[in-house]
Subunit: 286 residues, 2 copies
């Protein structure tokens, strides 16, 4: 048992926006996650969408800023919003940078000291957390999808590509699509995984897609045209699209004129992402 | 000139969510406010809705948590989101309490030392800020409405009742409807206005409504049934409704089963408030 404990609950769009804490076995620390339970899940098992957040975020950002509960309620899906790194594990330097350590787990399983004892966010979001959700809430384990933003867009893409069929669909806002070629990614991958670039490739969507052999499925990539991190070469959606085309994996890249990297951008387009996932999860709006 | 300066701008639902700073003459300090400019206001003057926030809030809370930009865009209105008190004016004790001083201006004009030199939030939100908005942005000065939450619901109600015809409509979430009879209100009114209860009555919606002689207009009061501050007697919507009935002023009190005092509650029902204001502002959705 994970010591699952409800620490907040607010009625929202007919359902409940909750926060839970639990002791994570993969991260060896106490973690929090946000959970939206839609109105109809008292009596039925419903699909689940995982949201992975970006650098500096906690479980709070998406649940307070994206306006997603409206659509989770409308489409009758559970929404799971994990934190972005282990917390309070007292690794020297973990709080020194916004883009490495706490708030920046990068959804990998670290192999390097001192990170490897706790920083296993890949296992946490793709295995441990789904097991907790499926065994404690009315979630249909056969209907789950994943989406995210920036570092969490990277997390969503690699989770989808590394586990063919596990997630019915994937979408991402302003994803770090090719971390091996961005300074954020290079810092994280070298810090958590060391210098072996074959290991980096296992967490790089643009590299992973060439070996993807799962069900055909439109990967939905959303990108603001005025995103400062696009301009700085951190995101590289075009490289991912090229790799998808080469591998004959269907991808949709939707550019949003004048939008930036913020939650104001995410909130504007989150409804379209729910529509995308609803199609693959086989649900119509209530 | 007020030294109006744009300090943030993010594209949102086709328009722009901005933050401005300026030197306030009524508050004698530098202030920030949030402003949403909908897509169509480049070429046309559009209606304006003022949002007044509650205790502890700044200009940020509503603009990041309520999901209101979607509806401001849909109904093509400018949204103005002021801060809740003077800032940085160095009055001893101003930061000591969450419910008095900074973050808690209570939308009154203080008459008591040491507050009276700066704490004039009533003049700020009903006169100074509308003048700035009307002279710097494509706002139609003949079509403005007001809404708010908690302390800001009180602010919206008194601004509407004290200025017949100035605001086309008013709505409030979980408003402090009868501050003379709530502990939050008593602390604020005695602190800012002293012991003269005839002065308190000039800032108490339940007292003001008996003298209201403006255009007939449904006052829209929204209240969660599980709001802890309702239970604690801070809000008193029923007293306001009784006073409205006695004064023959139309009022709608909508109770929301199971909802609390949070922004999750506000976000759930904000669309209905826009519909209410749109009716009185004479606009249909785009």
């Amino acid at each position: 048992m994970s010591g699952l404990k409800e620490i907040a609950s607010n009625k929202s769009f007919g359902g409940y926006q909750k926060v839970f804490s639990h002791d994570s076995t993969s991260l060896k620390c106490n973690m929090k996650f946000g959970l939206y339970l839609p109105p109809d899940c008292d009596t039925n098992k419903v699909p689940v969408i995982y949201w992975l957040s970006g650098l500096t975020c906690t479980e709070q950002n998406f649940m307070t800023k994206a306006g997603a509960q409206k659509y989770a309620s409308k489409y009758n899906v559970i929404l799971v919003m994990p934190d972005t790194s282990p917390r309070g594990v007292n690794i020297p330097g973990e709080d020194d940078s916004y883009d490495f350590g706490s708030g920046a787990g990068f959804y990998v399983n670290a192999t390097q000291e001192p990170w490897k004892s706790h920083y296993h966010m890949y296992t946490y979001v793709t295995s441990e957390l789904p097991e907790i959700i499926n065994s404690n809430f009315p979630a249909d384990p056969d209907r789950q999808s994943i989406m995210g933003h920036s570092m969490g867009g990277h997390g969503a893409l690699i989770s989808f590509l590394k586990n063919p069929g596990k997630y019915k669909s994937v979408s991402a806002f302003a994803a770090i699509c090719n971390p091996s070629e961005s300074s954020w990614g290079q810092r994280a991958l070298s810090g958590y995984l060391g210098d072996d670039k074959t290991l980096w490739a296992q967490y790089d969507a643009t590299k992973l897609v060439s070996n993807y052999n799962g069900p055909p499925n439109d990967i939905f990539l959303d990108q603001g045209s005025s995103d400062e991190f696009l301009e700085k070469g951190q995101l590289n959606p075009q490289k991912f699209v090229s790799a998808c085309k080469e591998a004959q994996v269907p991808v949709i890249l939707t550019m949003r004129d004048g939008y930036d990297h913020s939650y104001f951008y995410i909130a504007t387009f989150i409804e379209e992402h729910f529509k995308h996932h609803a199609k693959y999860l086989g649900i119509s709006s209530s």
